[in-house]
């Protein structure tokens, strides 16, 4: 919603692009069968298209809109997502605009009771978290897609109105300003949001809970001198009976969220005069005395809803189309990116003939597993942020009050920000016995961590498009059995030699771990081997490399025999 007199896209700071409809060949009788169709050009659909393109796989993206998100919506991007954006070739444009942050403050009444400090070090290329409006997120991804016209066919003003799926193909009915057509593809990724048309067309329903607690989220533009941090306020003067959250965004935009009280009428709460009154009370509480302008607002209800199966034959569901998670902990967008990448690399491997059914069958256990993990974490956050009953409300009051004098309860106020999910139980994660031989490092199934390499940048800069093997050794020399692996494996495998120092091994694939950070973060000794998937998750690891086991682990990580 926007203030009276301003249109839906009439922003104080953002010039909305208008994307023209381009008449597709299908309207003139073409019957191309596309490798992948992506429904939805939001962040998740666009990330799917870009990862498919990185994997040299073409797709058609359909969206009924002619522009980007009408509001700032999902504003927090995690480090893990930034590492994904780097692989998609867009991290630089995001970094130029987004605001990185590492800290937060939590207040009870007028007292600060918890200092949030997210893990950060010189070994990281990216901040733990960045704030950026969703319009920019989409705009930057669209800008990258436009650089890849042979691989990404982005079709605006093209609404999915029907889906038919059989054993051989997917047929999508598309409505456009110049008429309807049928688009045929091998696979469909449904990234068409919470109200997914694809989901409805296939008769699938989200199951789960609607949690109590409603928030109004409002963006205001103002000159306000405060670092980029997450600020939360429990029982503040501005909202004595509930919670306020404040985030900074680029362009002098500040996001203020406030929880409605249980007896408040949502329709009245979002009336412009009431929004202005609440915003003023919150700014008074923050000590902001200058002018401000109201940009946009919306209302939000916490839900934990999910499909039981994220795959329906040749259709994969990603992002809000697959599941809706509570806002707390910024998991909607970030897990959506993970869905996108997971779907895309697997589809590309199958379309290239490197993998079969088993790889696609892993999509639900991996991504629904991540959702259930989110529900556990976000469920806790939600029960704290919006207590669902008298018991939870009283206990929250107790721990907040104790936090005035006691350290031990302060962590309850931690927002439990998103962390990448570990695919420990995935059918693609192999050699658990070898994993258990490690005393430290990055567990099998977990996402790879970054390390600074001096002049060579960071470890994750060097990963390949497909699988990557990290071989740790004193001098960077790779044994013949390992060096022969890329030739032995059909799927792409890039071998990187992480060396303690310069020595016998030479070439671009040798990365000298000058500070010893990579050996430490990976719990590695001389001879250690990590096998990373295209999405940077550890498929398997060995304290001492074994070429035959590595070859077997790649086959497992591709879902078994093709």
């Amino acid at each position: 919603m926007r203030p009276a007199g301003r249109g839906a896209l009439d922003s104080l700071y953002f010039r909305y692009p208008r994307f023209a409809f381009r008449r597709p060949p299908e309207l003139d009788g073409a019957a191309t069968r596309h490798p992948v169709i992506v429904a939805g050009a939001g962040p998740v659909g666009l990330a799917t298209a870009l990862e498919l393109a990185r994997q040299d796989t073409a797709c058609v993206v359909l969206d009924r809109k002619d522009t980007v998100s009408d509001g700032s919506r999902a504003i927090c991007i995690s480090r893990h997502s930034f590492e994904t954006l780097q692989q998609l070739g867009v991290a630089e444009r995001f970094e130029q605009k987004a605001l990185g942050w590492t800290h937060g403050r939590c207040h009870y009444r007028e007292h600060m009771i918890y200092r949030l400090t997210m893990p950060h070090s010189d070994d990281e290329r990216f901040f733990p978290m960045y704030n950026l409006q969703q319009q920019y997120i989409e705009q930057f991804l669209i800008g990258r897609a436009a650089e890849l016209p042979e691989l990404i066919d982005l079709r605006w003003q093209s609404e999915v109105v029907g889906v038919e799926c059989d054993d051989n193909q997917v047929a999508v009915a598309v409505a456009t300003p110049e008429g309807r057509y049928t688009l045929r593809g091998e696979y469909l990724v449904a990234a068409d949001g919470a109200a997914s048309t694809v989901r409805k067309a296939l008769g699938l329903k989200l199951a789960g809970e609607n949690l109590p607690g409603r928030y109004v989220i409002a963006d205001v533009q103002m000159q306000h001198d405060f670092p980029t941090e997450r600020r939360s306020f429990f029982e503040s003067a501005a909202n004595p009976h509930s919670t306020v959250l404040v985030h900074r965004q680029p362009d002098d935009i500040w996001r203020v969220d406030w929880q409605l009280e249980p007896d408040e009428d949502a329709e009245i709460a979002v009336e412009e005069d009431n929004v202005r009154r609440r915003v003023q009370a919150i700014l008074d509480m923050l000590g902001h005395t200058g002018p401000w302008e109201l940009e946009w607002w919306s209302i939000y209800t916490a839900n934990t809803l999910s499909l039981d199966d994220y795959r329906h034959g040749r259709v994969l569901f990603a992002g809000d189309a697959a599941r809706i998670v509570p806002i707390f902990g910024v998991r909607g967008l970030n897990n959506g990116f993970d869905d996108a990448v997971n779907a895309a690399w697997k589809l590309a491997c199958v379309l290239r003939g490197e993998a079969g059914e088993g790889l696609l069958a892993s999509f639900t256990p991996e991504r629904r597993g991540a959702t259930l993990d989110v529900f556990r974490n976000a469920g806790r956050s939600s029960r704290f942020m919006t207590p669902p009953s008298r018991g939870f409300a009283l206990l929250r009051k107790a721990v907040l009050q104790l936090s005035l004098t006691q350290e031990f309860t302060r962590r309850f106020a931690d927002p439990r920000q998103v962390v990448p999910y570990t695919y420990a139980d995935s059918p693609l994660t192999g050699f658990p016995g070898r994993d258990r031989e490690f005393a430290a490092g990055v567990a099998a199934g977990a996402a790879a961590v970054n390390c600074r390499l001096g002049a060579r940048g960071y470890l994750l800069d060097h990963l390949g498009r497909g699988f990557t093997g990290l071989y740790f050794s004193a001098d960077g020399e790779v044994p013949a059995a390992l060096a022969g692996l890329p030739g032995r494996i059909g799927a792409g495998l890039r071998l990187l030699a992480v060396a303690r120092g310069p020595g016998a091994g030479t070439g671009a694939h040798v990365l000298v771990d000058e500070q010893g950070a990579a050996f430490a973060r990976y719990g590695a000794g001389d001879g250690t081997f990590y096998l990373l998937r295209p999405d940077r998750h550890v498929a398997a690891r060995w304290l001492t490399a074994d070429a035959d086991e590595i070859a077997a682990a790649i086959a497992i990580a591709l879902g078994g025999p093709a």
Binding site: R109, R383, G391, L394, T405
Partner: protein, 63 residues
Amino acid sequence: MNDTLAFSDLEEFYDRLAAAMDAAGAEKESLLLAKLCMTLAHHVGDRATVLRAIGIAAADLDT
């Protein structure tokens, strides 16, 4: 005093206790909490610690 509870265990306790309070209902919730405190005090087994806990709980009640 013994080792303190791991934070993850404290979180679980928070959830279970809230559920127990809701099950007991508003009228009997104080009695539930009093019984809980007596039980915990017995198991803590340290006079100074349990008496100090009363002071901690009694502080800031008006905030």
